[in-house]
Symmetry: C3
Subunit: 398 residues, 3 copies
C-alpha cells in the first residue's frame, strides 16, 4: 500500500464515531457500535500498512502492557506482546495459578498494585463459565475506582484476550481475514458461514470461539449457521445477540444438529470442538464447591458423551459439499488434526494442509487487531494521531 | 502541578548534596544523609508530576534493569518494572531457587555475567537473617570489581528491594505518603507513629518492614513506638540506629510490649506481623546446617508461640484510642484481614476497608521512589537533568 | 577509543563483503566467509566502542527478539537480551518443555505464530545430536515460507545460541577475546591452542563448544590440537571442517588422547568436559524410542566411563608446561572447579582464580557478538548505518 493509499484510509477513518472507545475497554464485540467495529478493522489495517512501509507506529515513549493469563497460552501471549511492542509498551506478565478463582478483595487490590504505570491490561480467563468476563469487569471497576481516587495516574484499558463469553480479538481477526478474502465488509453480505462443532479428544475447550463468531459474523449480513450435536448448546444469551444482529443486518442465524447441513453451500466453515455449556456451568459450581469427586465424575461423563461424536470431522467429502467445493476453512489454531496431532480429530490432514497459508494469515491479523483496540481507547482523535505518524514517517528499522 | 511548580521543585532539589549517591547503591536508609533522603523524596515527586503532565522521564535510550528476587513477589516486581520502564530500562528477571543460599564464587560470577549491559540490579532477599544484605554487598563488590577490571562497561546500581535488615523502597514510600498526608516533612515532627506487631496465621514474615520504619521515621522528629509481644524483638543494631536518629532529630524512640499503649494518641499506626529475630537467626543456622528436623521443630514452636498473641489485632476499639480516633492506618500490603483473608488476622475488616484508598496511595509511591533511587545514582547533577526533561517536554503518550 | 578511531574502524568495515549476511541466519561459523567472520568481529568491536562512548546503537524503534531456549540458561539468555536491548528490540521468551522434541507440523506453525513482529529468533537447542541444528533449519524454512506467503511482514533472522553441532556466539566471543589478547587476528597465526577434554562429575555436556572451537580457530592459522580420552570423539564432519580450514589458513589441526601433549607449549588452553558423540547419538535414538530403561542404562555406562578419566584436570603442573608457563586459560563458564563447585573437576581452583578476570572478559564479548550477528543480517550496508549512528551521536544515557 502506498503512502497515498494509507492517507486515504486514515481520512475514511476520520468519519467514524469512536469517542466512546476512548478511555474504555474492549470486552464484548456486541457492546461496540458498527462504527466502532469498522474503526477497529480500519486502524488494524492502517497499522499493518504502516509497518509494511517501515513507518513506526510507536505512540508511547514508555508505558507498560500487563498480560494476565489465567490459562496457558503461546499464540495470544505473543500477539499481545507484539501489539504492545508496536505501540511502544513493554509487556509485564502476571501469572496467577491456573485453577485459582480470585475473590473480590484480592482482585481490587491486585488490579491497583499492578496498574501504577499500566496503560493496558490484557486478560485471558476462559476456564469457568460465569467467571472470566465477570473477573474482567471487576478489574475494570477496580482500576476505574483507583483512577477516580487518585491512586492511579492513568486508567489502564482492558482488552479481553478470551473469556467465558467472547473472544473478541479472535473473532475480529477472523472477520478481518474474511474482509480481505471477499474484498470488503460489504461483500460478506449473503455469504454463508458454518460455525460447527467438531470432535477432539480434549473435550473441555472454551465456548468463547463459537460464541464470538456467531455474535460477530451476524452483524455483517452473513448467513450464520451454528451446528453441534445435541447437548453442545452455547450460552442462550449469545444466541439472542446473534438473532438480534441478524435481524438488524439483513443476515440470518440458524442452528442445526447436522454438520452436513451447515456445510452445504457454505462459503466459510469453522469446525471446532467446544464443551457443552450446561456441563461447563455445572463444572464451575463443582469447582466453587471444591467437589473433586464431582469434577472427576463429570469429566468421565463428558468424555463418554464426547466419544459418541467422532463423526463430526471436517473431511474432504464434507468440504466438497460447500460452495463450489471451495469454502474457506477457518480455525483459531492449534487444530486437532486427524492422524497428525491425534488419532481422530477436528479436521482431516489433507484439508488442514490445503488451508495452511490462509490459516496463518488469519492468525496474523491478531496483533494488529489488539493494537487497534488499545490505540482506539488511548486517542480521542485516532485519525489525527495516525495522520501524524504517517507524516512524521519515523522508520521502524531506522 | 503546573509546569512552573515543577520547575520550582527542581530548583529546590538543586540545593541538595547528592554527589555521594552518584554511582552508588541504595541499601539502607541510615547510610544516606538527610539531604540524600530528601532528594529522593523530591525526585520521586518530580517524576510523579512529570508523568501527570504527560512529560516523558525517559533518560535511557536503551539499557537493562535486572530484577533478582529470591522470594516470590508481585507488588515489588511490578513497582521495580514500572520504575525501570519510566526511565527507559527494560526489565530482565533472574529467578533463582527460593531456598538456595548462593556461595561466594557463584555470586561473583553470576553478578558479572548478568551485568554486561545492566544499569541497575534490584534485589529482594529477605528470608534469612544475616544473609540478604550481605548478599547485596557481595553483588555490589563483584560488579565494582568487574567495572574496575574492565569486564563491565558500566557499574550497575544496586537497589535493595527488601533484605533481612531494611526495606528502604517500602519505608521511603511510606514516609512520602506521610509527607503528603501531613503537608510536608517538617510537619512530621512531634507526630506519634506506632509500629506494632500484629497477629497473622503465617508466622515467619520478614523483619525488614518494622526495622525499616523505626530506622527511617525517627529521622523526622517523630515519636516512634515499637510495640510487640515479648520474644518478638527486632535486630538490636537497628534499634540503636533508631535511638541515635531520634536523639539527632528531636524525636523519640520507645519500645513496649503493649499494643494499646503504642496506639494511644498515635497519629499513625502500622500494625503488622513479623517473626522473632532470635528465632530467625536460629532458623538461618538450621538451614545452613541443612537440619530439616530442626527446622520443623522450630516452625512448630514458632506457630505455638504465635498463637498466643491473637489479641494483637488492629480493631475499631483500638483505633478509637488514637489521636482523635483518626490515626492513619498503614500497611505494606497484602494485609491479613480478619474474616477476609484469614479467620484471625492483623486487622479488622472494617478498619482495613475504611483505609483502602490511602493504603493504595501509600503503595503508589513505590515506583517513583525506586525510579528516584536509580536516577540519583546515574546523574551527577540530577536537577540539571530533570530541568532538561521538563524543558524538552517530550510527551510520554505522544 | 576516540570518535576518530571508531570512524576508521567503520571505514575498514566498509571494505568487507557482507551482502550474503543480509536477511540471512547465523547457524554455523563455517558457513560464513572470512570476510563475514571478520565483519562480525569488527561490528562487535564498533558496538562496544560506541557504548563505551555512550553513543546509542539503537537501530530499531520497536521490534521483538524471541528467545527460544530448549535448555536452561542464564548467561546466554542475558547475553541475547543484552544484544537485543542494545539494538532496540524487546525480548520475549518462549519456553518449551525441556525434554520435548517438537514434530514438523508444530515447528512450522509455532515458528509463524511467534514471528508476526519478530526481527530475530535466538535458539538454544543442544541436547540431542542430530536435532538442534535441524530444528533451527526447520524454523528458518518455516519463517522463510511464512514471509514468502505474505503471512509474516518481515523474515526474522535466526541466531544459533548453541546447537548440537556448533556454538557460534561462544566461539566467536572466544576468538574475539584472543584477537584482543594477541593484538589482532593476524597475530593468531602460529599460536597453539589446546581444546582439551576435562573431567567433570556431570558427564553429558554438549559437544558444541569443542566443535565450535576447532571449527573456528583453524581459520586463523592457529595450531589447533583436540585432546580427549579414547571414546570421546567429536562429530567427524566437524573434524573435516577443521582439517580443511587448517589447510587453507596455513595452520594445523591434530588430535591426541594425551592432555599433556596438547598443553605442551600451548599459547592457549581450553579444558572442558563433553559427552562422547557416539553415546549422544545413541541417547537421541533412545529418547526417540522413549526407551527409559535404555536411557538409564546408558547414563550408568557413561558415568562409569567418565569416572575413569579424573586425571584429565587442568592443574598448575600442566599449566607450567604451556608456552612460558603462561598460556591463556579459557572456558565458556560455568566451570567445574575442583574443591569449589565439585570434589574433582575440570580445573584446579588456583588456576581458575588466576584467570578470573580474563575469563569474565572472554564472556563479555558475547552480547556484542550477538548484536553484530543480528545487525549484519538487518542492514545491507552496515558501514553506512554505523556511520550514521556515530554521526548522530545520540546518547545512550541521555
Amino acid at each position: 500500500m502506498t503512502h497515498d493509499d494509507i492517507a486515504k484510509r486514515i481520512q475514511a477513518l476520520g468519519a467514524r464515531k469512536t469517542e466512546k472507545m476512548y478511555a474504555n475497554d474492549f470486552l464484548l464485540t456486541w457492546e461496540k457500535s458498527d462504527d466502532e467495529i469498522m474503526a477497529t478493522f480500519e486502524v488494524a489495517g492502517i497499522f499493518r500498512a504502516l509497518r509494511e512501509n517501515n513507518i513506526s507506529a510507536r505512540v508511547f515513549d514508555s508505558g507498560l502492557g500487563i498480560s494476565l493469563f489465567r490459562d496457558n497460552s503461546t499464540r495470544t501471549r505473543f500477539s499481545f506482546a507484539s501489539a504492545c511492542n508496536l505501540l511502544g509498551l513493554e509487556v509485564q506478565d502476571l501469572d496467577e495459578g491456573k485453577s485459582q478463582i480470585a475473590h473480590g478483595e484480592t482482585v481490587r487490590e491486585t488490579a491497583n498494585m499492578i496498574s501504577f504505570m499500566a496503560d493496558v491490561i490484557g486478560i485471558r480467563d476462559d476456564m469457568y463459565i460465569g467467571k472470566g468476563n465477570t473477573y474482567m469487569r471487576d478489574v475494570a471497576e477496580a482500576v476505574q475506582e483507583g483512577f477516580n481516587d487518585g491512586v492511579l495516574e492513568q486508567r489502564p484499558t482492558l482488552v479481553n484476550l478470551q473469556c467465558d463469553i467472547d473472544h473478541p480479538t479472535q473473532s475480529m481477526s477472523d472477520a478481518l481475514h474474511l474482509v480481505h478474502l471477499f474484498g470488503g465488509v460489504e461483500n460478506l453480505k449473503g455469504k454463508k458461514i458454518a460455525m460447527s462443532w467438531a470432535y477432539s479428544p480434549s473435550y473441555g475447550k472454551p465456548l468463547s470461539v463459537p460464541q464470538g463468531i456467531i455474535g460477530l459474523m451476524t452483524r455483517f449480513g452473513m448467513d450464520v449457521v451454528l451446528a453441534h450435536p445435541e447437548g453442545y448448546e452455547v450460552m442462550p444469551e449469545v444466541e439472542e445477540v446473534a438473532k438480534k444482529n441478524a435481524a438488524a443486518s439483513g443476515g440470518s442465524y440458524a442452528r442445526t444438529n447436522d454438520m452436513a447441513e451447515s456445510f452445504k453451500d457454505a462459503h466459510v466453515v469453522y469446525p471446532k470442538s467446544w464443551a457443552p455449556f450446561a456441563a461447563m456451568e455445572k463444572r464451575t459450581q463443582l469447582y466453587d464447591d471444591r467437589d473433586e469427586a464431582g469434577i472427576k465424575a463429570l469429566e468421565k461423563e463428558l468424555l463418554a458423551q464426547n466419544a459418541q461424536h467422532k463423526e463430526w470431522e471436517c473431511t474432504e467429502a464434507l468440504m466438497d459439499t460447500t460452495k463450489a467445493g471451495k469454502a474457506m476453512y477457518m480455525h483459531c489454531l492449534p487444530a486437532d488434526i486427524t492422524d497428525v496431532s491425534c488419532k481422530e480429530g477436528e479436521v482431516a490432514a489433507a484439508v488442514f494442509d490445503r488451508y495452511r497459508v490462509p490459516l496463518y494469515k488469519e492468525a496474523s491479523f491478531k496483533p494488529y487487531i489488539i493494537a487497534a483496540m488499545i490505540f482506539l481507547s488511548k486517542f480521542k482523535d485516532p485519525a489525527a494521531k495516525l495522520g501524524e505518524l504517517l507524516k512524521a514517517g519515523a522508520r521502524r528499522i531506522r
